[in-house]
């Protein structure tokens, strides 16, 4: 008996040695299991900008250019690019890059993609200044703009503007959303909607191949459940870990909590076209009546920072407006009195169903009561809430606003320029201010970095004074990793790159 046992043991040892040796030689790992907070809606990049879809097709498709760690725009599918003059860009594609359907990446695919996206309501805004996209050779694309546009190039780094294959999209027709064909490190193996989405490694990938052979993504919308799945080892990565579970993940052996500041803030907006919010004194009064740091602490603990600007500190030209949050109930009452609302008024706040936003609304309701303002909370599902706000029907609104790129133009111009204060425009606050308009227009045609920074500083000062938004916190992504995952690199857009997971 003993002998058998010894024999068995040695066999086991040799086997395990063999296995570890094999693992050492080959860094490849088998399956990466991910618990996401929501399922992808489609895998056709041009058809959506929602993060849950982007985090999948970000691994399947690639953009022409991308933003490196130092916030420089560098080539990806394009080996290089040059700006010929203020309104002309030329991109040189890498040669020999294959789509997973066996087609080679050609300039015609880029032309096809961008022309298609310019017509797609979800991403058309990135191509609003584009006059023409032409293939000037098999591997060369020229883009002409109607006017100089500083934010144009960064728009191309947006995940939804990834390059698709003309033939694949045409052939797939209505099924383009479920039959993605890209150039990226992974390709879709199977998608059992509602159950699981599986990616497999693209063995022909032109760049560095990912460590994991397959990636399985399941949607677990209940945030507490995602943590439990991670703890019980059912998944290796759990996205969007709620604040209540941060310490638990940090303290559990074998698990790590990763954080990544996002290029987004959560804010309380005010519709400046509606009385009494059209009076800047009323807006300032509301700002003074809210103890923002305490609200942030109550809802988020120490997990996030208080926001001191309309743009996140992760974006270019950020300026911290330190004086924007002064909690002073007496001052608020005084301002209201000056504006003629001594006895307060009634107002509604629009927000989506996300718990943290609803929490803000609940506390705001309570705090504004102190200065005589009665708040009615109006909750709706996100998309419905958006259509209300786009239609200009909101009074107060709570929303997270951010940018897919690092350029502040995507936030500031679209949210505060008067041309967007129309139905369907991003200027939910209906903020119309000639001085602000002029500055925003200037920011688009100034290409010098320092000079542009000054213009944006001025804009942020002006907004802090005029107060169309009360900035609440800077958003952050929290991801829990465990199992056989050692590291994961995140980027501020929350477009998780599973191919970089080791």
């Amino acid at each position: 008996m003993k002998r058998y046992l010894a024999l068995l043991l040695s066999v086991v040892m040799i086997l395990s040695l063999g296995i570890t040796a094999y693992a050492d030689n080959d860094k490849d790992k088998d399956v990466l299991r991910v618990a996401a907070n929501a399922e992808a809606s489609t895998l056709d990049p041009s058809q959506t900008t929602d993060a849950s879809s982007q985090q999948i097709f970000n691994n399947i498709f690639e953009t022409l250019v991308y933003e490196d760690e130092n916030q420089n725009i560098v080539g990806k599918l394009a080996e290089s690019y040059e700006q010929v003059d203020d309104t002309t860009y030329v991109f040189h594609l890498r040669q020999g890059i294959m789509f997973t359907n066996g087609e080679e990446l050609k300039a015609s695919d880029v032309v096809f993609t961008y022309t298609r996206n310019a017509d797609s309501p979800k991403v058309a805004s990135y191509f609003r200044d584009v006059e023409s996209v032409t293939a000037t050779g098999d591997y060369e694309v020229e883009i002409k703009l109607t006017q100089p546009s500083a934010p144009f190039l960064t728009g191309l780094t947006f995940a939804s503007n990834a390059i698709v294959n003309e033939k694949a999209i045409t052939e797939a027709g209505d099924n383009a959303g479920t039959q993605p064909v890209g150039t990226g490190p992974y390709k879709l193996q199977s998608w059992n909607k509602g159950v699981k989405l599986t990616l497999e490694r693209n063995e022909e990938y032109w760049g560095e191949k990912p460590v994991f052979r397959t990636v399985e993504v399941v949607a677990v919308p209940e945030s507490t459940n995602r943590t439990i799945e991670l703890e019980s080892g059912n998944v290796d990565i759990a996205l969007e870990i709620p604040e209540t579970d941060h310490n638990r993940v940090r303290e559990t052996e074998g698990l790590q909590l990763l954080e990544q500041p996002a290029r987004a803030t959560t804010l309380l907006g005010m519709n400046c076209s509606k009385a009494p919010l059209d009076d800047v004194r009323v807006r300032q009064a509301i700002s003074h009546a809210l103890d923002i740091p305490t609200i942030v602490k109550a809802i988020k603990g120490d997990a996030v920072q208080v926001a001191y600007s309309e743009i996140s500190s992760q974006m270019k030209y950020y300026k911290e407006e330190t004086d924007s949050h002064v909690y002073d109930v007496e001052k608020a009452k005084e301002l209201l009195k000056e504006a003629g609302y001594e006895d307060g008024f009634e107002i509604s706040v629009l927000c989506d169903e996300k718990k943290e936003n609803l929490d803000i609304a609940t506390i705001v309701q309570q705090l504004l009561q102190q200065v005589g303002i009665k708040v009615k909370i109006n909750t709706m599902e996100f998309a419905t809430m958006c259509s209300e706000a786009y239609a200009g029907n909101s009074e107060l609104f709570i929303v997270g606003w951010g940018s897919g790129t690092m350029d502040p133009d995507t936030v500031l111009f679209s949210c505060f320029h008067s041309s967007n204060a129309v139905e369907g425009g991003n200027n939910w606050a209906r903020f119309v201010n000639p001085e602000c308009d002029a500055l925003l227009e200037k920011s688009r045609v100034v290409f010098d970095d320092a000079e542009r920074g000054e213009v944006y500083a001025e804009i942020q000062d002006l907004l802090a004074e005029e107060c169309p938004w009360i900035n609440i916190w800077e958003r952050k992504y929290f991801v829990g990793i465990g199992g056989n995952v050692e590291s994961m690199v995140m980027d501020p857009n929350s477009c998780y790159s599973y191919y970089k997971v080791k």
């Binding site: 159950v195 599902e381 419905t384 786009y390 129309v422």
Partner: protein, 309 residues
Amino acid sequence: MIKYILKRILYLIPVMLLVTLIVFFLMSITKGDPARIVVGESASLEEVEAMRESMGLNDPFFVRYLRYVRDLFLHGDLGTSYKSGLPVMKEIMSALPSTIKLSLAAIIIAILVGIPIGIISATKQYSFFDNFTMILGLIGISMPIFWLGLLLILLFSVRLGWFPPSGLTSFRHVILPAFALGTQSIAVFARMTRSSMLEVIRQDYIRTVRAKGQKESRITLDHVLRNALVPIVTVVGIQFGNLLGGAVLCETIFSINGVGRLMVDAIKQRDFPVVQGGVLFISLAFCLINLIIDIAYAFLDPKIKSQYK
């Protein structure tokens, strides 16, 4: 018999048509602009208006409804989801297996646990077991499924770590949600089995059989249970319908991507075609189950069979 079944199935068609009419109407008065959802949140007013026109949303209510019904009957087409752009049929079909798995598991658990409890309670009326299980049953009926679900997760997933709290990918996954969903049915079945058996036991012929010296267990199973089965089967049918409704909540708590969850999400996102399709599907399932139950009667009770003409 076959004629009866055919008649019932034919009757389902107008019923389902009216169900679609009700839901279509409800969705048409719901706030929210479908065109806005399709073109995206940041589209301009003109884009929204153009989309509204091309989706036919500017047509009068009945034109839209008739178009919907025509597509449904001629092409089996339930429309396209506003949100994902996929055919609603496809969306529902991918969610359906989870819901079927969940409700079947729940009903099986309920039958396997509930009916035996009812039988034992009936044969030992007023015993400790009887009193205990009947009070337990009342508690079971009173448990809101969304609370029970939370408590089960708290105990079995969080504290004990025995079962995973979400999804439906393996047998272990099914247990907690199926139990949460089935608890009410367990209680209903136990109570119904008990009371209908008690009613049969009081009847004269059972006394006769007993007088003839039959073994007690044979009496219970052969005579009492068989005759008590009709009301039990009815309750199973009704309960299955309630289960389909309860699945909506159960799927939400346990993060199961079934039809119920699909519909709740669709309702919140104003994805009307998916809601319409989902309600139609669940209602159809509900009616078919009731039909099956009615047919099952015939086999259980010859007296009823003779009525089917």
